[in-house]
C-alpha cells in the first residue's frame, strides 16, 4: 500500500519536493518561511547527533533531496523540547514539522526501520490504541525486545535495577502485564480513530493519489 502511495506522490510532485511537503506534511507549509539562520540547529539538545539538523533538512527539502530527507534518521531524534520553536525568529513550528516529516515518511514506507526512536514511536502508538491508555510495563518490555530475543534479555538485565526501583516504590505494577488500565468506551474510541485515519488518508489520496485514479 505504502509503495503505491509513494510512487503516486513521486509522479505527482516530480522535482517539487517543497510542494509535496507543503501539501502533505503536518505544518509543512511553514518550511517556505525558513531563512537558514541556524538557530534551530544550534538550540537542539541532540543537534550534535543529527545527520542533518533542522536548518539543513529545510534546505534539503528546497533542493529536492526527497529520498535523503524522508529516509533520514534525523527527525526521529527530536526530543520535542520546543527549544527550536521558541527561538526561531520566524516562528516556524519546527518540532511539529519534524514530527510531520517523520509521520509522512512512515506513511510512504520510507522511514528508517532500524532507528530506535522510530521503533519506540510506533510501539507507543500501538500500545495506546489498544486500550486507550498507555500500559507502561508492556511498552517497556516491548521496547527492550525490539531488537530480538537475546538483545532483549541483555537489555532487560541491564535495566533490572531501574525496574526493581520502580517496583519497590510501587511506580510499576506486574499486574499491568495481565490486565492493565483501559478506557471503558473502547468501541467508540476505535471507531473515532478509524474515522480520523480515513479522513486523513483521503486528504493525502486526494492530492497524491490523483495520478493513480486518473
Amino acid at each position: 500500500m505504502s509503495e503505491d502511495i509513494n510512487v503516486a506522490q513521486v509522479e505527482r510532485y516530480r522535482n517539487n519536493f517543497l510542494k509535496e511537503v507543503t501539501d502533505n506534511v503536518e505544518e509543512g507549509e511553514w518550511v517556505r518561511m525558513c531563512m537558514q539562520c541556524g538557530v534551530c540547529s544550534g538550540s537542539c539538545p541532540l543537534g550534535p547527533y543529527w545527520d542533518h539538523p533542522p536548518q539543513e533538512i529545510f534546505m534539503m527539502i528546497r533542493a529536492n533531496k526527497r529520498d535523503e530527507v524522508l529516509s533520514s534518521t534525523s527527525m526521529w531524534m527530536c526530543t520535542s523540547c520546543y527549544n527550536c520553536i521558541v527561538r526561531c525568529p520566524r516562528e516556524l513550528p519546527i518540532t511539529h514539522i519534524m514530527h510531520g516529516l517523520a509521520h509522512y515518511a512512515t506513511r510512504l514506507g520510507l522511514a528508517p526501520k532500524e532507528q530506535p526512536t522510530y521503533k519506540f514511536s510506533q510501539r507507543f502508538w500501538d500500545n495506546l490504541v489498544k486500550k486507550g491508555r498507555i500500559n507502561e510495563l508492556k511498552l517497556g518490555v516491548n521496547l527492550y525486545f525490539m531488537n530480538g530475543f537475546s538483545e532483549g534479555v541483555k537489555t532487560s538485565l541491564k535495566m533490572a535495577p531501574v525496574g526493581l526501583g520502580m517496583l519497590k516504590t510501587k511506580r510499576m505494577s506486574p499486574m499491568e502485564m495481565v490486565g492493565g488500565h483501559s478506557i471503558k468506551d473502547l468501541k467508540g474510541f476505535h471507531a473515532m480513530l478509524k474515522k480520523a485515519e480515513e479522513l486523513e488518508s483521503a486528504r493525502v489520496d486526494a492530492k497524491g493519489g490523483s495520478a493513480k485514479n486518473a
Partner: protein
C-alpha cells in the same frame, strides 16, 4: 476561600501502579490543603504525548485530545481543564490551538468524534496544575498554609521543557523562568540561583529509545544542580522527574560520577511544608529517598 473546581486530566503516567502515581498522590494532598476540587474527566484517554506521531497522523492525534475535551464539556461543564502532566497539558493545548486555527480540521475532528457519540465545542481553557496554583491561588495564599517550612534545604528548580515551552507559565521567560524558585522560597526553602540547566531537555521519550544520548543530557542537569549546591531537585514534569531520578546509577557507572540526588515534585514539597504525612506526600515513591523531607514530615 471558596472551593475551586476544575475538570482534571490526570494522564497515563499518574494511574495506579504507573511511573508518576506518586505525583498524583501528592497533587491530591496539596489540593486538599488548598481547597481545590479536581473532578476527573470520566473515561479519559491517552493524548499520545509527543512521541506517538509515527503511527498517529495529525488528525488521529488531535482526535485523542479532542475526545478528552468533549468528555470534559459533557461531564464537567464550565470548568477549566487542568492537567498535572506536562505532555498532557501541552498536547491538549496544542490541539485547541490547531483546531481554532483551521476550521477544516475542526470539522473533521468532530466528524471523527461523532463516531464515539461526542462533540467538541471548545468551551473551556486548558491549564497546567502549576498555572492554577500560581495564578488562581497565588504565592501569598500558598505561603499561608506552610506549617513546616523547608528551612535550610537548598533546592534546584528544574523546570525542563514542556512546562516551559512553547507556552510556559504566563509572565515567565523561556530561558530563565523563576516560578519554581519562587515556590521553593514560599515554602521556606532556598532556591539555587543561576541553575544553568533549569530549562535543559532531559531527552524525554528518548531516554527509553536512545538512552546513551539522553543520559548525557541528564548528567549535565544533575551536575549543574550539585554545582549550585543543591541537595535536591524539584520539577513539575513526570518525565523529567523519572528521567533525572532513576538513571543516576547507570550514569554513575558510565561517567564515574557519584550522584545520589533526590528529585521531587513541587507538590511533594508543598505537601510536606503543609504539614502532611510522608505518606500523603508519597515519599515512599522516591527511588532515591528524599531523606530531608522525610525528617521534616516526621517531626
Amino acid at each position: 476561600m471558596a472551593t475551586k473546581e476544575y475538570s482534571f486530566y490526570p494522564g497515563c503516567s499518574s494511574q495506579k501502579g504507573a511511573s508518576s502515581s506518586n505525583y498524583l498522590k501528592s497533587v491530591e494532598s496539596m489540593c486538599d490543603t488548598l481547597d481545590i476540587s479536581l473532578n476527573t474527566i470520566p473515561d479519559w484517554n491517552c493524548c499520545s504525548a509527543s512521541i506517538g506521531y509515527c503511527g498517529g497522523g495529525e488528525l488521529p492525534r488531535l482526535a485523542l485530545s479532542a475526545r478528552n475535551l468533549a468528555l470534559s464539556e459533557k461531564h464537567n461543564p464550565g470548568q477549566d481543564v487542568v492537567a498535572s502532566c506536562a505532555a498532557c497539558w501541552l498536547a491538549t493545548r496544542e490541539t485547541v490551538e490547531r483546531l481554532e486555527d483551521d476550521s477544516g480540521l475542526m470539522a473533521e475532528t468532530n466528524t471523527a468524534l461523532k463516531e464515539a457519540g461526542l462533540e467538541f465545542k471548545n468551551e473551556n481553557k486548558i491549564r497546567h496544575m502549576v498555572e492554577v496554583i500560581i495564578e488562581d491561588v497565588g504565592y501569598e495564599e500558598l505561603g499561608k498554609h506552610v506549617v513546616k517550612p523547608l528551612e535550610d534545604i537548598k533546592i534546584a528548580g528544574y523546570v525542563g521543557c514542556q512546562t516551559n515551552r512553547p507556552f510556559g507559565i504566563e509572565g515567565e521567560s523561556f530561558e530563565n523562568p523563576k516560578y519554581l524558585d519562587k515556590l521553593v522560597e514560599t515554602l521556606g526553602g532556598e532556591p539555587v540561583e543561576d541553575y544553568d540547566k533549569k530549562v535543559s531537555c532531559c531527552g524525554g521519550a528518548l531516554a527509553f529509545s536512545e538512552p546513551e544520548k539522553s543520559q548525557a543530557l541528564i548528567k549535565d542537569i544533575i551536575e549543574s544542580a550539585y554545582d549550585g549546591g543543591a541537595e535536591m531537585i524539584v520539577t513539575p514534569c513526570p518525565v523529567c522527574q523519572m528521567n533525572v531520578e532513576v538513571y543516576q546509577d547507570q550514569i554513575n557507572a558510565k561517567y564515574g560520577t557519584k550522584f545520589k540526588m533526590p528529585v521531587v515534585y513541587y507538590s511533594t514539597l508543598m505537601t510536606v511544608a503543609y504539614g502532611k504525612s510522608a505518606k500523603d506526600a508519597a515519599l515512599e515513591g522516591q527511588v532515591i529517598p528524599a531523606t530531608r523531607l522525610e525528617e521534616i514530615a516526621g517531626k
